[in-house]
Amino acid sequence: MRDPNAIDFWRGLALVTIFINHIPGNTFERYTYSQYGISDAAELFVFLAGWSIGIATHGKDGTPEPALTSVLRLLSRTVEVYRAQITTMALALAMIAGTALALDNPLILEWHNAGGFFADPIQTMVGFVLLTHQLGFFNILPLYVVLIGVAPAFVLLARRSRALALALSVAVYGASLVFEWNLPAWPGEGDWFFNPLCWQLLLVLGIVMQGWHREHAWLRLWTARLVPLGVVIVAAGIVLSVWEIRPDPLLVPDPRLLFTFDKTYLSPARLVHFVGVLLAFQAVYRLVAPRIGPVARYLAGLGRNSLAVFSIGSLLSLGAQFVRFQTGGGVFVDCVVVGSGLIALGVTAWFVEWRSRRPRPSSSASR
C-alpha cells in the first residue's frame, strides 16, 4: 500500500464527486466542483489514469520497463476493467428489476436507458457484453476499457517520440470533432456518451505529460509559473457555469463541436478549462494535505483503489436514487444516503486492500 500522494488524492476527490453527481437532484449536488466549471470530474479521472499509466510503465528511476511487460500490464488492466463493467452492469440491472418488482412500478425499468435490456434481452445481451449498450451513469467504464485497450500503442509510441504520440492523438481528436466521429450505441440509435475517439486525448496527455514532467525541469518551472493563468481560467469557468453562459449549438459556425461545450466529444472549451484546473491546482495538495490529514488519507485511499471504489460507487448511487425516489428525497434523506455512501466507499477501499494483503496461513480466511 503506497502512501497518500497527490494523484490518489485527486482521484479520490473525483470519485467522491462522481458518486454525488450520480444521485441527481440531491442536496449536495450543487456543492460539487462540477457545478462550478465547464469540465468536471470525468476529465480529471481519465487524465490521472493516463498519468498513472506513465508512472506504472516506468521504473522508479524513470527507465521504461520492457515493452512486453507494459503491454501485458495494460492488457491485464483492460481485462480487470472489463470484468468490473460487466459485473457492475449485471448488478445494476438486477437492482433496477428488483426495485421495479418490489415497488410494483414498471417505470423504474426505464431507469437510465435500462428499458432496452428488459424490452429486448436478445439483442441487448449482445450489446451488453460488447459494451455498446450502456446505462446512463454506467458509461465511464466502457470508455475506460477502450482507452486502456489502446493505451499500449500510445505508450510504445511515446517511447519513440512523445511528440509523435501526442500528435497522433490530437489528430484523431481533431478529426472526430470535425467529422463528428463516434462509436455507435447498439441496439438502439445514438452513440457512446463518452466518445473514446475524443477522450483518448486526455489519457495520452496524461501519459505524455507525466514523461515530460519527470524529465524536463523547464516544464516543471513553466507549469509553476502558469498558476495565475490557471486561476483566471478557473474563475472564467465559474462565471460561465454559474450564469449558465454557453454557446448556442445552433448558432455557432461549422464545425460546431469546436465551439460548443460538449461532454460527449470533450469539446475544446472543456479541454482548455481542464488544463486551467490542472495549472491552478497543481500545488494545492502539498499545501492542504498536512492540514486535512484524515480527509487526505481517506481520499487517497479511495484513489488507490479507484476501480473497486468507482464500481461500488456506481451501484451505491443507483441505490441512493431508489431511496430518494421512494422516500421523496429531502435534506435529511440526502444526508443519510450520501453520508452512508461515503462511508461505504471508504470501507470498500479498506476491504480491497485487506483482501490484497495475503492473509496469514493460520487465519481462517486462508484458502
Binding site: 441527481p24 437532484g25 449536488e29 421495479a100 418488482l101 415497488l103 410494483d104 412500478n105 414498471p106 417505470l107 423504474i108 425499468l109 426505464e110 431507469w111 437510465h112 436507458n113 428499458g115 432496452g116 435490456f117 428488459f118 424490452a119 429486448d120 434481452p121 436478445i122 439483442q123 441487448t124 450489446g127 449498450h133 446505462l135 446512463g136 463528428e180 455507435p184 447498439w186 441496439p187 438502439g188 440509435e189 445514438g190 454557453r246 448556442d248 449549438p249 445552433l250 460546431r256 460548443t260 461545450f261 460538449d262 461532454k263 460527449t264 436514487q321 430518494r324 425516489f325 421523496g328 428525497g329
Partner: protein, 323 residues
C-alpha cells in the same frame, strides 16, 4: 442498426407472452401482424395498405362514447381509443407546415423514446414514422430517434440542444419528465429547465411536441409524480406547443373496461407493443390535428372538435387530403 428481421422475431417471441392482454381486444390476428393502424378516415386508408386492413376502420358506434358523453376519437384503433380532450392539446406547427408546403421530407427528432428505443421498441420510431406518413399522405417523414437519459433539470436539457443541433429537424417530439420524476428533482427546477429548452427550440423555428410521462397505477396517488405531469402540461400551455397527454390517455385506457393496467403495461411489466403502438397513434393524432390549426389561433383539444367517428372522421388531411 435496426435489424428489422431480428426485431420482428423478438417481437413475435415477446408477444407470444404478452398476447393475452392484447387478444382480449377480440382481434383474431396476432398483434404483431396488425397494421400499426392509424387513421380510420376511409379516404386515407387506401394508400396505406401494405399491412392487412380491417378491424380498425369502423368501430361499433355503441362503444364510441366515453362516460362524459364525449365521443372517443374514432380515428384511433379500437384498443387505443381515447376522447380527444384526454389525449392532446393542440397548437400550431409552423415549421412542419413549411416543410409540407415546400414538399420536402419532414425531419422528425423523437427524443426519449421508451426503452430508449432499443430492440423491440425500435419499432416505436418505425411505427411513428408509418403512422405519420399515413396520416399525412404524400409526405416523406424521416424519423431519427434518440434516447435521452438523465434529468432535464440537470444536464439532459443541454444534451437535447446538442442533439437538435446535430439533426436540425423540423419537429422535435419529446417524451419528457419520467427521469426527472424518478429522480425527484424539484418541480420548479424541472419546469424552468423544460420551459427554457422549449423556448430555445422554438427560437430556432423548430416545432416541438411534448409527450408527458407514462401512467402507472402504483404512482396514481403520488402527488409529486402528478405535479411533474402537470408541470409538463403547464409548460406546453404557456409556450403554446402541442402536448400529448400520455398520462391521461393511459389512465383512461387502464380504467376502461376490465383490462386494468395490463392493458398497456403488459404482463411483461413494461410498455408493451400495444402501448407503443397506441403512443405512436396518439402522437400522430396530435400532430396531424395540430397541422389543421388555423394560423394565429391556439385551441385546446376540448375546444377543437375532434372528428367524432366513422365516415365523418375524414377530417381533411393537411396535404393531399383529397385522395
Amino acid at each position: 442498426m435496426a435489424l428489422p428481421k431480428a426485431t420482428a422475431l423478438v417481437l413475435g417471441l415477446t408477444l407470444g407472452l404478452v398476447a393475452p392482454s392484447a387478444r382480449a381486444q377480440a382481434t383474431p390476428q396476432s398483434p404483431a401482424t396488425q397494421a400499426p393502424a392509424m387513421p380510420a378516415a376511409p379516404a386515407m386508408q387506401a394508400p396505406a395498405m401494405q399491412a392487412p386492413p380491417a378491424m380498425v376502420v369502423s368501430p361499433p358506434r355503441s362503444t364510441a362514447t366515453a362516460e362524459g358523453g364525449e365521443a372517443l376519437d374514432a380515428t384511433l384503433s379500437p384498443e387505443c381509443r381515447v376522447p380527444g380532450s384526454r389525449l392532446y392539446t393542440l397548437n400550431r406547427l409552423d415549421a412542419v407546415k413549411a416543410a409540407l408546403k415546400e414538399k420536402r421530407p419532414v425531419r422528425v427528432l423523437a427524443i426519449g423514446a421508451p426503452a430508449a428505443s432499443a430492440g423491440a421498441s425500435t419499432s416505436y420510431p418505425v411505427k411513428l414514422e408509418s403512422a405519420l406518413e399515413r396520416s399525412i399522405p404524400n409526405v416523406d417523414v424521416e424519423i431519427e430517434s434518440r434516447g435521452l437519459s438523465g434529468e432535464v433539470a440537470s444536464g439532459a436539457a443541454e444534451r437535447l440542444r446538442t442533439m437538435v443541433a446535430e439533426s436540425e429537424p423540423d419537429l422535435v417530439i419529446w417524451q419528457v419528465g419520467t427521469h426527472d420524476a424518478l429522480a425527484r428533482v424539484d418541480v420548479g427546477d424541472f419546469a424552468n429547465a423544460l420551459r427554457e429548452a422549449v423556448q430555445w427550440v422554438k427560437s430556432h423555428e423548430i416545432d416541438i411536441v411534448l409527450v408527458d410521462p407514462l401512467y402507472t397505477a402504483s404512482l396514481a396517488e403520488d402527488a409529486y409524480y402528478t405535479s411533474i405531469v402537470k408541470a409538463v402540461k403547464d409548460v406546453a400551455a404557456s409556450e403554446g406547443v402541442p402536448l400529448v397527454q400520455r398520462y391521461e390517455a393511459m389512465r383512461y385506457l387502464a380504467g376502461s373496461g376490465d383490462k386494468g393496467e395490463g392493458h398497456l403495461l403488459g404482463k411483461q411489466f413494461r410498455l408493451n407493443d400495444l402501448g407503443l403502438r397506441c403512443m405512436a397513434e396518439h402522437v400522430t393524432r396530435a400532430i396531424s390535428l395540430s397541422l389543421l390549426q388555423p394560423d394565429l389561433a391556439t385551441v385546446t383539444g376540448t375546444a377543437v372538435t375532434p372528428p367524432k367517428d366513422g365516415p365523418r372522421a375524414a377530417a381533411p388531411g393537411p396535404a393531399g387530403s383529397g385522395q
